[in-house]
Symmetry: C2
DNA sequence: AGCAGATATTAGCCTAGGCTATGTTTTGGA
DNA sequence: TCCAAAACATAGCCTAGGCTAATATCTGCT
C-alpha cells in the first residue's frame, strides 16, 4: 500500500539524516498523530518491513530496506521528471508524493527515456 | 476523494454510452461487488453528487456533472500526455486512472504545454 | 396475469488509516 | 539519585471502502 512505502522511505531518510527514526519525528514529518504512527508501525512490523527497539526508534528489515530504496529511486525519478517538465520544486515534490504510487515500470522507463533525451539535447 | 471522481466519471460515461447508469454495470466496470456500489452511491448521494431512481439507475446532480467533466478532462489530458511520451494505450490508461487524482493544476498545465510543443514540432 | 430472473438493498463483517484522551515508561538534567 | 518532560502505548471512537449472504423489488416473457 502507498502508506507503507511512504513510511519506510521516511524511516530510511531519518536513519540516514538523523541516525535514528523516532515515532515523534515520523508523526511530525507526516503530519499525523503519534497514535496513528504507532498503529501503522504495528502493521508494518506485522508485514515484516520494520522492527522497533522501544525508545530507540524504528529500523528497517531487509524487506523494508528493499522497499525503501525502490521507493526512493522512484520518488527521485518522478521528481526529476517533473522538474525537467518545468514544474517548480514544491509542486514537483508534492505531486510526486502521490504520483509515485501509481506509475508502472513502463511509465518510469518512459520518464527515464525522456530525461535521457533532454540531457543530450543540451 | 479519488473514488468519488471515478464513480461520477463512470456514471457520466454510462449515461452517454448506454443512456442509463445501472448499479450492476458500475459494479462490473469497476470490478466491485454490487453491495459496494450501493454503499458508495449512498455516500455520493449524501454528498450531493448523484441522485437515484430505484431500478432506473443513477443520475448526476449539477455538482456531479461538474465533477465528472473535470475528471474526464483531466483523465484525457493525462492519457494523451502518456501516449505522447511513448506509452502503449493500455499502460497509459491504467496509470492515468491512478495518476489523475494526484496531479495539481500546475502539473496539468505543464502536461498541456508539453503536448502543445510536440504538436508544432511535427 | 403471473412468475423467474435480473436488479437492487440490507445486514453483518472486515481492514486501513485517521483522531483524542489517557495512561506508561524512559531518560536526561538538576 | 530522582523526577519532570519527552516518548511511547493503549483504549475507544470514527469513516471510507471493501466483502458475502440474504432479502426485497421490479420487469419482461410466456
Ligand atoms: Mn508518496
Ligand atoms: Mn515518496
Ligand atoms: Mn481514477
Ligand atoms: Mn479516470
Amino acid at each position: 500500500m502507498a502508506v507503507a512505502e511512504d513510511y519506510v522511505e521516511l524511516v530510511a531518510d531519518l536513519l540516514r539524516e538523523e541516525g535514528e527514526a523516532r515515532s515523534v519525528d515520523i508523526a511530525r514529518r507526516m503530519g499525523v498523530a503519534q497514535a496513528t504512527v504507532a498503529a501503522t508501525v504495528t502493521r508494518l512490523q506485522r508485514d515484516g518491513l520494520v522492527a522497533t527497539k522501544p525508545y530507540r526508534g524504528i529500523f528497517l528489515t531487509e524487506a523494508g530496506q528493499a522497499m525503501a530504496s525502490a521507493a526512493r529511486e522512484r520518488h527521485e525519478l518522478v521528481v526529476r521528471f517533473f522538474l525537467t517538465l518545468g514544474l517548480d520544486r514544491a509542486t514537483a515534490e508534492a505531486d510526486a508524493e502521490g504520483v509515485e504510487h501509481h506509475v508502472s515500470e513502463a511509465t518510469l522507463e518512459a520518464f527515464a527515456r525522456f530525461l535521457a533525451e533532454r540531457k543530450d539535447m543540451a
